[in-house]
Amino acid sequence: MPLLWLRVATVLYGVGLIHAMLMLRQRGERSGRIAAPAVGLGIVFHLVSLVETACLFGYAELVTIRQAESALALLIALIFTGMFLRYRTATPAALIFPLIFLLTFASAISHNPVGITRSSLYSGWILFHVSTLIFGYAMLFLSFVGSLLYLVLMRQLKRKQQPSWAARMPALQVVDEWGYKALLLGFPFMTIGLITGSVVAEEKFGAGFISDPKVVLSLLMWAVYLTLLYTRWSAGWRGRKAAYLASVGFVVAVCAWGANYLSKLHRFVAP
């Protein structure tokens, strides 16, 4: 059943995605009426799916890649909804919805979940590790969206021509604040998540875990994260430079996430 709910949610998010794309081509007036309720409903189904999973299989099930993808998508969808209600702008949807859709889709079609040994001694720690990192990932992604939006807005202001959808966009500095706050909020979570992960891995696999591709990429991601924060603090990097750096961060994050499928260690199958 949880999988069915998740698939329903995927379809509903798909409606949101189509609307976001239409909006970019300035044609989303009619689809807007169904998109907002569809996404709202999608979030509800999504939530039901996750809760049911936890009830049926226990919390440990939530730390499988499939469920983690699903949870990350839900978190981003929730934050987007919050932003939409607060600022009445749906423009970031064009950047956010492809990811939400992809994550839910990937989660909804995987028939062969990467399993966890349910009896794992560390399952509490791993749950903590996974949830803090999911939050860290979501925030990193949002700050990436923020810096891209900043770049788009900046270009428009400089070109002195405003397409009509830009009229509904928040101000440059507001977008800047979003990105920065997301960075600030996400960094501690990402750090704590990585530390717990390392501690658990050290216990389990000894010092050798450090050379695993997943671990290397995660550390690289953390370093980019730190650089983003540092350049912001010390030099106030915004605009182009910050957007490039954030893009690098995003690519590394995607790789680090994708490395779940490559890594031998990070499958959480007890050795």
Partner: protein, 456 residues
Amino acid sequence: MNYFVLGVNHKTAPVQVRERFAIPESRLPEALGKLTSMDGIEEGMIVSTCNRVEIFARSQNGTCDLQQFVREYFGFQTGEFEPYIFQHEKLEAVKHVFRVASSLDSMVVGESQILGQVKEAYAIARAVGTVNSQLDQLLTRAFAVAKKVRSETTIASNSVSIASVAVDLAEKIFGSLQGKSVYLVGAGKMCELAARHLIAHGASKIYVGNRTFDRAVTLAQKFEGEAIPFERLYDTVPWADIVISSTGAPHAIFRKEHGEKFLHVRKNRPMFFIDIAVPRDIDPALNDLDGIFVYNIDDLQQVVQSHLGDRKKEAVRAEAMVEEEVRKFEARAQTAEVVPTIVSLQQHLETLRQAELDRVRGRLGTLTPEQEIAIETLTRGIINKIMHTPITALKASARDPEATTVIDVVRKLFNLRPQPVEKPPASSGGDAAAQKPAAQADSEAESPELARQTQK
């Protein structure tokens, strides 16, 4: 529907003519009194602004000579003002009032002042009592139409002056202007105007730098700002989020290297440069720097022009809305004329029925409840059958220009009281239905029964 409009506006008359028509607010009550004392004029109001002087009136019998009022009131000679005036009556007058209130007739289409001015004129005329029934409905409707046009089109949503465009842009960059600081380089008039707009939108700190320090001090005092000696210009400009430059310098005073320095000092926080000087004060290359936005007078003008273009497009939609509203208003007004007659016809026949019942009741003796009901049904049935044809005719005539004739015939045939089209019945007495002023007749909330009657 006996509405009339006469006036001069920016389309029909140059300012030297318009100013001769202008009536200051203090003299409006007196002018309104004169207007409504004219033959045939029942209600009237006057809108007098710098772009228009217009007289709205309603007559009882369908004719009124507003030109005569103009001649008498302003003391014009015949032939002196006629080429400059415009006149509308009936539906054309309704449409004109709707268009004026919706700012479709304005010099800058979509500007919001005119609605306020019409509302003021209306308030004065109401206070004096020269607007009280049908003209009141017309204006109330006009305000509703204006609101609808504003909310359902984007006719008023974009700024069309240089200063307000500058504010819009600043808000696009900084979000709220609350707490933002503004640096005026040069103490020109345009600088002052733009600064005033920015302050009105929340900008708090003002710095003024000018080659002549005294002028900087004078201008700074106006805004409770800070005057800064010109030598310290480059050190102090980074303090400001918004810089407005309008010096008479023959070459650019802000070049790219300055911009780089400013951004460094400000840790890349964005800056907005408005260059209203010709020749330009700010090197356009500054705009290439991340975080610096430079708009010169042409850029601002271009935004203004594109907004004006948008307004023109929206105005077409707004005109269609006004047309539709005029049709609705017409239909409603005609129904409103018919409804009181229908109601008094029903009341009249019901009174007759009751009276006849009372008269024969004594002779009938005691009746069983079933018999009571039977008599009730019988008499009501007869009344309804009789009423059916005249009511159908009245309703049909509501959509017809001959409504008044049918109303008169029905009233005569059934010996109903004359229709109270005049001043609304502030006093008591009279039959309740006939007293319903037309204004209420179309409001469902106030008389659901009437509203039901008017439906098919």
